[in-house]
């Protein structure tokens, strides 16, 4: 039996990683699988991917996918700044970052906000379970008010919704998904990888150890029963002729991504327009009132310049520019010395 290869002739094994050390059944592992499948099917070159993370259960996962890519498991809440610096050094890398709700909604919320503000070109996967796992189950800032984890009191504080925050900040790609919705998450992940700019996917990923009980609004059962999907999605890659794709029976519209691939949004229920920030906020707000989880592509904007574009840098990644180009000439220093001496 021949091994199945992707569009750049690599087997899926080239996209896998080490064995997970997370709890059996953890939603994060399902997300890692989606990242592996999406990167393989999209034909990303593993060596041109950089895996970035902060600290926490979620941030351990870059060890479990894409072992042929360099990665950096940085410090708690500060992954966005390290990614920003690395992007300045090598503009050709595709950054796939994993963070958690402690990392992004508490200790690192400032860095999250500013990476969005700069429209740093990266995929930002937020593995959101509402609790701190590694420190044994404390509520995080995204825990829903009134929810109850396995041990302890009901959460009294209102949550920080990072999708709402991102829409408000003008984030260019805002999606919410559920680790149990493999098809939806895969389409969104592929679209995020094809997007130019900051792509947030806030993935509700139940913590099987600390937050999967009946009273929790982040348990598998609760999320599954209360998932309001905005659309059904098909991701159509650049290498598949669009004519070959089956046209859905109902209404749909297409979003063309930066690399030429297409995300097809099929209408189910009310038709959400992902270019409408007010509609995105309304959908999030209503879901919160109803104790539901709205999932899908909430907001999309393809017109903003990225952090790299704003720099007016040379096309070659700075890390590849030869030393003799990076160091100005001796003649230029002579000109400066002469000017300082007032002899010019």
């Amino acid at each position: 039996m021949s091994i199945k290869l992707n569009v750049i002739d690599l087997p899926k094994d080239d996209y896998t990683g080490g064995k997970s050390t997370l709890c059996p059944g953890c939603g994060h592992d399902q997300i890692s699988t989606v990242i592996i499948n999406s990167a393989w099917e999209n034909g990303l070159k593993p060596e041109m991917v950089a895996k970035m993370s902060g600290i926490g259960c979620s941030s351990k996962t870059p060890a479990y996918f894409l072992s042929k890519s360099h990665g950096f498991n940085t410090v708690h809440g500060r992954m966005p700044s390290v990614t920003t610096g690395a992007a300045m050094g090598n503009r050709d890398l595709t950054f796939i970052a994993v963070s958690g709700d402690g990392d992004s909604a508490s200790i690192g919320i400032g860095q999250f906000i500013h990476a969005v503000r700069r429209n740093l070109d990266m995929v930002y996967v937020l593995e959101n379970n509402g609790v701190y796992g590694l420190t044994k189950g404390q509520y995080s800032a995204t825990a829903v008010k009134g929810s109850k984890k396995k041990k302890g009191d009901i959460n009294k504080h209102q949550p920080i919704d990072l999708c709402k925050l991102a829409v408000n900040l003008g984030c260019t790609f805002v999606a919410r998904s559920f680790s149990g919705s493999k098809k939806q998450l895969t389409a969104l992940m592929k679209a995020a990888m094809s997007h130019k700019g900051f792509a947030l996917i806030d993935v509700i990923s139940p913590c099987v150890t600390f937050n999967n009980n009946d009273e929790s609004l982040r348990s598998y059962t609760y999320v599954k029963d209360n998932d309001l999907e905005l659309h059904a999605y098909d991701y159509i890659p650049t290498y598949t002729p669009i004519e070959g794709i089956e046209i859905p029976e109902g209404e749909f519209h297409d979003i063309t991504l930066f690399d030429g691939s297409v995300l097809r949004l099929e209408t189910i229920g009310s038709d959400h327009d992902p270019t409408d920030a007010v509609a995105a906020m309304a959908a999030l707000h209503q879901a919160e009132i109803d104790n539901k989880h709205v999932t899908g592509l909430l907001y999309f904007d393809s017109n903003k310049s990225t952090a790299i574009e704003d720099q007016c840098l040379v096309d070659t990644p700075l890390a590849d520019v030869p030393d003799e180009v990076m160091r100005p000439s001796a003649a230029s220093l002579e000109i400066l010395n002469t000017r300082f001496r007032g002899k010019d």
Binding site: N73, A86, A87, G89, L318, S332, G342
Partner: protein, 597 residues
């Protein structure tokens, strides 16, 4: 009256935001262009407008650059500090004051001259009267001190580059000041004069922060991330200002990225991200910024990422005195972050070294695969200093042990990211995007292949290798500068901006107690073995520092062999102002008395 030529100190008391800085710089540049050794110190408040500022001009044929024991000419413009400024004058001081402030000057023991500066300035331009009144004192001083009018004209033209009206107006104000003295004052009763001197006309004035910024460009910096903080902001701003001229390609595209970060934590993270990706990245900050960056500093040390941070030291602790100087961050830098760490520190003492260490910091960071600090201070960074010219780097960039091809990787037997294959404590690395032996970098414990490990023997071996790596650098980091006497009795160890006071300290000791002392200027940490030898060779060694606790002294006590410790003494002092020779010469005398020398 007997004249005192090129050997006195002026103190100009104004309020900030009134344009006095332009007037003071014009005075400085005029005297400097007359070939007179002169230094200017701006003592400014942490404020935008209206609070007291003093500018100290030290004129010294002997080349002394630190503030002197006393002021000889006091200019008084500021109502808020009027009484104190007058009370601080020693008998015999020439007091020049703005008569229009209508405050009394009751000093029979001084030479007191009132000038209606505001009135004269308003006569020229009613709206700009307050600003121009500062130029009136420039004219007053020009007439008394006999400043060269051509040089003064040039200095004014340079200061107000291309603005014809401003140049004209300021010149008129100077002329009014000159005329007033000419008509009303017998200058023979005033002893102070400036006389032309022959000086190497290659020498120019520049601020330390600008010198570091330029040096960084000649080190090929690819990323500057910064968060504004006094007194480092002017370093970042100078670096940015030079990009269009010297850091663009033929299309005008930039070779250096700049990010004004959301805070110092982010700035440090970006530097580490840049270093990890294979470029030369830096930030500039001050003590409070270093405190915030500490977690990342430990990551750079432990994950071995080349990074450069310039600390322009201001007076701590906490927010401290934000616009005053100190060498109070040294011990923090040396061991910044939790756990056992050591960071190389480069300590320039003059403008040429500010430039040199600007580029060299990157060579050292990449060679050691570690974070390197540049250590300057507000005095060196934000004041003007004489510079003989910047020297182009004499070596190609040292990019360290980076494997860029499969063949290079294959040539290493048993490669591992953190394996010491050469026995020098420094491993090889590969870059993201190369596809060569990728690993997940981490701040957690790791083995020689970069894989997570909590094994005791793996952790201990890693920590000892990191220590070995730094210890090996002691012999090739910038070595101390020694000036040794034949009789090796007393040795002085000092560093950084203390360089500008050392000659005067040396002369005081010789004049007053007949002592000739050897000097050792430390230019990097961890310390060179040359420092230990210097201590061994001298009977008594005194460490001069601009801080309270004697921070280098503390490092010496920990690192020196026990038998040498008793002969090392501390002379540490800090009040926020630049170091004055008198304070240190007295401390040294005290130590010598104590040890019976």
């Amino acid at each position: 009256m007997e004249r005192i030529v090129n050997d006195f100190q002026l103190n100009i008391a104004t309020a900030n935001g009134t344009g006095s800085q332009s007037a003071n710089l014009i005075l400085l540049h005029t005297m400097f262009s007359m070939g007179v050794p002169v230094s200017g110190k701006n003592l400014f408040p942490s404020n935008i407008s209206g609070l007291p500022t003093w500018y100290i001009l030290r004129v010294s044929d002997r080349g002394y650059q630190a503030p002197a024991d006393r002021t000889h000419i006091q200019i008084i413009m500021n109502k808020a500090t009027w009484d104190d400024d007058i009370a601080n004058c020693l008998p015999g001081t020439l007091i020049l004051f703005n008569e229009d402030v209508k405050m009394p000057v009751d000093r029979d023991d001084c030479i007191v001259i009132g000038v209606p500066m505001t009135k004269m300035a308003r006569g020229l331009n009613p709206k700009l009267g307050r600003m121009i009144s500062n130029m009136v004192y420039v004219g007053v001083l020009a007439e008394i001190l006999e400043l060269d009018q051509n040089k003064l004209n040039n200095a004014i033209a340079d200061q107000f580059k291309g603005k014809a009206r401003a140049i004209e107006l300021n010149l008129e104000a100077v002329n009014l000041g000159r005329a007033f003295i000419n008509e009303n004052v017998d200058t023979d009763m005033i002893p102070y004069r400036i006389e032309n001197r022959e000086m190497d006309d290659d020498v120019f004035l520049v601020e330390g922060n600008e010198a570091v910024a330029l040096g960084s460009h000649y080190g090929g910096v690819g990323l500057l991330c910064w968060y504004p903080i006094t007194p480092s902001s002017s370093l970042a701003e100078a670096l940015i200002a030079y990009i269009p001229e010297i850091r663009t390609d033929e299309n005008g595209d930039h070779l250096c990225a700049v990010i004004q970060a959301e805070d110092e934590l982010a700035a440090a993270g970006m530097v580490i991200g840049g270093g990890w990706s294979g470029i030369r990245a830096m930030t500039a900050t001050s003590g409070p910024g270093i405190s915030l960056m500490s977690e990342f500093i430990g990551l750079a040390y432990f994950a071995e990422i080349p990074s450069v941070i310039w600390d322009i030291n201001r007076t701590g602790p906490s927010t401290g005195l934000p616009t005053r100087t100190q060498q109070g961050d040294l011990s923090m830098l040396y061991e910044a972050s939790h756990g056992d760490t050591t960071h190389p520190i480069l300590i320039p003492g003059n403008m040429q070294e500010c430039f040199e260490y600007g580029w060299k910091a990157f060579d050292i960071a990449e060679r050691l695969q570690s974070l390197v600090f540049g250590f300057s201070d507000l005095d060196l960074g934000m004041n003007n200093w004489a510079c003989k010219g910047f020297e182009y780097p004499d070596t190609p960039m040292d990019r360290g042990k980076v494997l860029r091809t499969q063949a290079e990787l294959d040539a290493i037997e048993n490669y591992g990211r953190y394996r010491d294959v050469d026995g020098d404590g420094i491993p090889y690395r590969t870059l993201p995007g190369s596809g060569l032996d990728p690993i997940l970098y981490r701040g957690t414990g790791h083995d020689e292949d970069g894989t997570y490990s909590e094994k005791p023997e793996v952790y201990q071996a890693l920590m000892m290798r990191l220590k070995r790596k730094m210890d090996n650098a002691r012999t090739w980091l910038p070595q101390p500068v020694l000036r040794e006497e034949v009789e090796k009795e007393v040795g002085i160890i000092y560093y950084g901006s203390m360089e500008n006071s050392i000659q005067e300290i040396d002369d005081i000791l010789e004049d007053e107690i007949g002592r000739k002392v050897s000097q050792c200027r430390v230019r990097s940490l961890p310390l060179s073995p040359v420092v230990e030898q210097f201590i061994r060779d001298h009977e008594t060694v005194i460490v001069l520092e601009i801080n309270r606790d004697g921070q280098l002294y503390g490092i010496l006590r920990r690192e020196l062999p026990n038998e040498l410790i008793p002969k090392v003494h501390s002379a540490a002092y800090s009040d926020g102002l630049p170091p004055r020779a008198r304070h240190y010469s007295e401390l040294i005398k005290g130590v010598l008395k104590e040890v019976g020398q």
